[in-house]
């Protein structure tokens, strides 16, 4: 099948400064960047050398289960890269070719890479079940990076990266707009609680830099309100930064140089306000990029890095919470549960905020992706996104009656309404974990 993705124009990619690969053809470029990456990233070459085609991964991948397209079996997806790698970079592949599953890169290879590496959510569930621990997400990340070097980038990714370059956040929120948003949210909190709860912007000499998802200033306002109330009640000296208002890091999802630039942007923002602690908001892949990719990309960071749900959990005994009369389940964002060590903290926080917390099955590191992971939020991908979200919908349905679905990641928050609506569950309320913390906190205000 041909990918429905809208592809960015070359002039718009040039503005992002992505280094082009290969002087002759895209095929040469692909082979040359793959060679660079397999030499410099040991994990990639080990994973490309290792697969035994045991087939364990097939039934564990929601992308294959939802589409039943054999190219979406993780081992088959990885093979799109593996066969080119073998042909050009292994002795067996160079001498025995197709007998050892090696084949040269042709135009169809590039088309298939675009189609199938953009049907992988980089969720890493296959890696949990692979006897060798082969992580298809790493292969997909490499493949999308290589495609970007060939000038092949979804328009959606390019648009996000352009906003990030211009404003420091995905949504393109400049400082005057941010101030307007902050004033509006402060008024909302005043109306609700009667208290002056501030969201400081670019405040120098702050102990904590809070890095929210920029979607918290568009659709997910209650998530930002939850964070602001936590800092308020703890008496924290905190700020957000107008130059780095973004926990997401889409570079991880299509171009690694852009990922490093955003890592550097966060580092500079932390230095500008003097923060010794950087707290990341509700964003899955951005947490992964900050936690796993910052140090090697931009040298060790001179501050402590913490996820906001870990921060809330650590301070739980100091948060005056009253349990809300709700039955709630948690969707584990892939990058928290399989890549970021945020597993028990959201559960502890939820148990303190609601009367009934129930698990969906499977959960924690075996949880299924929402189907939007790795930035697959394009409208033109909707049919595929709904198929990728099928396992998740079945999981939610199996929990039985619910008042709230906690989905503490902005990509999940953008994807899940479509998935639930498609499966007849549009009435179910959903949002972040912080949203519930904000509602459960007793702040002692006149209206509390």
């Amino acid at each position: 099948m041909k990918s429905p993705l809208h592809i960015a124009k070359q002039q718009d990619l040039d503005a992002l400064g992505i280094e082009a690969a290969g002087k002759n053809t895209a095929r040469d470029g692909l082979v040359s960047v793959l060679g660079e990456m397999s030499r410099s990233t040991r994990a990639l070459s080990v994973m490309l050398d290792t697969c035994t085609k045991c087939g364990n991964c097939a039934e564990q991948c929601h992308s294959y289960l939802g589409t039943r397209d054999p190219h979406n079996v993780p081992a088959a997806r990885a093979d799109l890269m593996r066969r080119v790698y073998k042909r050009h970079f292994t002795l067996a592949g160079k001498s025995l070719g197709r007998f050892v599953g090696a084949s040269a890169c042709d135009d169809e290879t590039i088309e298939r890479w675009l189609t199938y590496f953009y049907q992988c959510n980089e969720c890493r569930r296959c890696a949990v079940f692979c006897p060798f621990g082969i992580d298809t997400a790493e292969i997909t990340i490499a493949a999308r990076h290589i495609l970007s070097r060939l000038g092949i980038v979804p328009k959606f990714m390019q648009g996000v990266a352009a906003n990030l370059q211009n404003t420091g956040n995905n949504m393109g929120i400049g400082k005057p707009a941010l101030i307007d948003c902050v004033e509006f949210i402060e008024e909302e909190m005043k109306e609700e609680t009667g208290l002056d709860i501030k969201i400081p912007v670019d405040q120098p000499c702050s102990d904590i830099l809070y890095v929210p998802s920029s979607a918290d200033f568009f659709t997910n306002v209650d998530t930002m309100i939850g964070a602001a109330k936590i800092f308020h009640v703890l008496g924290a000296n905190w700020t957000i930064s107008s130059s780095a208002l973004e926990a997401a890091n889409f570079g991880l999802l299509f171009n690694l140089s852009i990922m490093r630039q955003h890592g550097q942007r966060l580092r500079e923002a932390a230095a500008a306000v003097g923060a010794s602690l950087v707290v990341h908001g509700e964003c899955g892949h951005g947490w992964r990029a900050a936690l796993m990719c910052t140090e090697s990309a931009s040298t060790p960071v001179p501050y402590r890095l913490q996820h906001v749900l870990d921060y809330a959990c650590e301070n739980l005994s100091r948060l005056p919470l009253s349990k809300l009369p709700l039955r709630v389940t948690l969707h584990d964002p892939c990058n928290y549960a399989r890549a970021g060590g945020i597993v028990e903290q959201p559960r502890e926080v939820l148990r303190a905020c609601v009367e009934e917390f129930v698990e969906m099955t499977p959960n924690r590191r075996e949880n299924f992706c929402c189907g939007g992971g790795s930035g697959l939020l394009m409208d033109e991908m909707m049919d595929i996104r709904l198929k990728l979200g099928q396992k998740k919908a079945e999981q939610v349905k199996a929990v039985g009656p619910l008042d709230y679905l906690a989905i503490p990641c902005s990509i999940c928050k953008a994807q899940m309404p479509h998935v639930l609506k498609h499966n007849g569950m549009q009435a179910l309320e959903m949002g972040g974990v912080l949203d519930l913390v904000g509602k459960a906190l007793n702040l002692g205000g006149t209206k509390a």
Binding site: H6, V160, N169, N170, M171, G172, G174, A177, C181, E380
Partner: protein, 105 residues
């Protein structure tokens, strides 16, 4: 009432169906875009939302927070969805001639 002639409007749209050039926005464009969004009739409510979006975008360069849009226009989110079936970020912004909001939306 009979309609003698149907005016044709030529609009240049991007792949997402948004105006390529925001300068080409006018009331006729809104009517044409409404048909593409399966909106049968443009009411005063539609225009109130459209004008608020345009004013906010002119001042701040982005679409307003969805909650602010609801509060300032007096419509609930459900009412906005009824008026603009593809939602505030897509349908409403499209008719208002704004760029498509991007990121995790």
């Amino acid at each position: 009432m009979s309609v003698d002639s149907v005016e044709t409007v030529h609009l240049e749209l991007d792949e997402d169906g948004f105006l390529c050039d925001p300068q080409t926005w006018n009331e006729q464009a809104v009517e044409a875009l409404a048909r593409l969004e399966d909106i049968d009739e443009l009411t005063d409510g539609h225009w109130k939302v459209i004008h608020f979006l345009r004013d906010y975008h002119r001042q701040f360069g982005i679409a307003p927070m969805v909650r602010k849009l609801c509060k300032e226009t007096g419509f609930t989110l459900q009412e906005i969805y009824t008026m603009f079936p593809s939602g505030p970020a897509k349908g409403a912004c499209k008719l208002a001639g704004l760029p498509k909001p991007t990121g995790c939306v």
